[in-house]
Amino acid sequence: MASPCLTIKDMTLAYPDFIIQHDLNFTINQGDIFVIMGSSGCGKSTLLMHLIGLMQPAKGDVFYGEESLWQAGQQARQRILQRTGVLFQSGALLSSMTLFENIALPLTEHTRLSAQRIRLLVDYKLALVGLSGFADFYPAELSGGMQKRAGLARAMALDPEILFFDEPSAGLDPVSAKLMDDLIRSLRDHLGATIVMVTHELASIFAIGSNGVFLDTETKTMIATGSPKQLLTESNDPKIIRFLTRGETDNRQTDNLHPGAA
């Protein structure tokens, strides 16, 4: 269970004129729900972009299993990234296509399945995220939460081993956010996928996060790793405690923050 799935070694993230984060070293294990935490603007989303091959690190590398992402050639990188699925913050569905076409796109381009099989697969993925019957809708005709779930169905189209989420519950009402969390957890449990997510929704962090890394804005590096619950009870760093208790440092008990979460 605890075999490393994604390893980040000595990574420095930088724009041409300034450094965002430096010396990042952590491992994401198979089956983890790994949370990238930190205050706004600390570079969480930028880190995600580096993990999914959209931006090249200034220094260091990302390893998928044993394979290096950035020392690999263009084709090898494409092949590695085909094993991942990404859900962007706003869903990033192609607006000129229906949900069916959006989800069928990777299937038709990257596999040789028959049209009927693709139809079945798309229906299945839509049913998984609770959107049966919406295959012929355009993204603009759906609510924000539905767009997000459709984005998730597209991210899962090729049965990826690793799913990346950028703020999966941002912009959702508490009930929908909870449903999203449950969905993510059951996908991890039943598909055996590894989940990496960027979020600052404390409720989700505690409810589903099994491991995580905390990025700091001032020192521009990671200051802790481990499961969020453990960080809350064991960490001595005031920054982490302030973040995990929403600044209300007195409430340092997990139970107060998420009643009912197991």
Binding site: L94, S95, S96, T111, L113, R117, L120, L121, D123, Y124, K125, A127, L128, G130, L131, S132, G133, F134, A135, D136, F137, Y138, P139, A140, L158, D159, L183, S186, D189, H190, L191, G192
Partner: protein
């Protein structure tokens, strides 16, 4: 993948119970065994009242297995057969419960659009009617905000106006220069071949001068500006519409008509006549270059001929037409931009539609105005 992955499926019936057995690796890259015989057997429903699954020999699996299971379960449920999924692995059961957690809302699924020719024709007619209605409403709103502006009840932001002037005018000069020079040059060449038959090369100047000032200069400027500025207007306003920026402006108390559309419209009306004069000049220069270099006419003669052939009323006609084109281009661009939907593809559609509408408007209005001038003897 080159190596074949083996997966197999078989069904056996014992009494009224049908057992579906899956074995091997059910992965998307595998050769898929056909399920259809079993599905037809289920559909006929002969003496089967229970469907159970066996997965003892099942290796790895992914969405492929899930889609086939769902087909079997759906077919079974349709026949009222008792489907027992408890023997399936836990992961599969979990996914199945997710799949059946949210029932399909009734009426969500779309019916394919009718493709009968009468329906298509009818829809096209309705669309045309709605488009015309929208255009008239837009012109009406524009007229209202213009009146408000003239009566001093609303204000035009000078910075917007001047930005649009900059964008429509000076920035467009290079492309106008190039196209007008070439049009003048082509007019001269085409005409000269015919006129040379009569030894009348001198009249190239008349032809180019009158052609450019009365019609071609303005028309060319208008076509360029439709592609350049009309498209920009539609894309700008369309993107603002898609990003809810226009809604934001409305809530802040800005009327989109006077805040966004009027500055663009007025800028284009002011700048188009100037662009027309500039295009006329460039066309005449292009004609002169050809005539002087390739035919036996001196530059002085050419300019002298041009001066005596072209009168102020010819300029006035071209410039007036061009101001009208300006209104039409801005109207087409802004109308399509404001009508834009809320997606990236809608912005593309709006831009295309703005250019097409603009060119259609220009050509029709040019034909009309030319006929009117002709009848009035201008």
């Amino acid at each position: 993948m080159t190596d074949k992955i083996a997966c197999a499926f078989h069904a056996s019936q014992q009494g009224t119970t049908l057992e579906a057995t899956f074995s091997g690796d059910w992965l998307l890259s595998a050769e898929i065994p056909a399920l259809d015989p079993l599905l037809t057997q289920l559909d006929q429903g002969k003496g089967i009242n229970r469907l159970i699954f066996s997965t003892k020999g099942l290796g790895s699996w992914d969405s492929l297995l899930m889609t086939d299971l769902i087909r079997l379960i759906d077919a079974g449920k349709k026949q009222g057969i008792d489907v027992d999924t408890t023997t399936l692995p836990e992961g599969i059961q979990g996914l199945l419960s997710l799949v059946y957690a949210v029932p399909e809302p009734t009426g969500a699924r779309r019916k394919p659009a009718s493709s009968q020719w009468l329906a298509v024709l009818g829809n096209a007619g309705l669309q045309l009617y709605q488009d015309t209605q929208a255009l008239i409403a837009f012109i009406g709103e524009l007229a209202i905000s213009m009146t408000m502006l003239l009566r001093g009840k609303s204000r035009l932001r000078p910075v917007d106006f001047w930005l649009n002037i900059q964008e429509c005018g000076p920035s467009a000069l290079p492309i106008i220069t190039l196209i007008s020079l070439l049009v003048g040059l082509i007019l001269a060449f085409v005409g000269a071949v015919q006129l040379a038959l009569f030894g009348a090369e001198m009249y190239i100047a008349d032809m180019v001068g009158l052609g450019m000032t009365r019609d071609m200069g303005g028309l060319m400027a208008a076509v360029i500006m439709t592609g350049r500025t009309g498209a920009t207007f539609a894309a700008q306003l369309g993107t603002m519409q898609a990003n809810s920026e226009i809604d934001a402006l409305k809530t802040m108390g800005f009327e989109p008509m006077s805040f966004l559309v009027l500055p663009r419209l007025l800028a284009l009306i002011c700048i188009m006549p100037l662009l027309c004069l500039y295009a006329d000049l460039m066309g005449i220069i292009g004609g002169a270059w050809v005539t002087v270099n390739f035919f036996d006419v001196s530059l002085t003669q050419y300019l002298d001929r041009t001066a005596s052939a072209v009168h102020l009323k010819d300029f006035a006609m071209g410039v007036t037409k061009c101001a009208v084109y300006g209104v039409l281009i801005a109207l087409a661009g802004c109308l399509r931009g404001m009508q834009c939907g809320r997606s990236a593809s809608a912005v593309g559609d709006a831009t295309t539609s703005a250019v097409v509408t603009g060119i259609v408007f220009i050509v029709i209005s040019d034909a009309l105005m030319t006929m009117i001038c002709n009848r009035l003897g201008i």
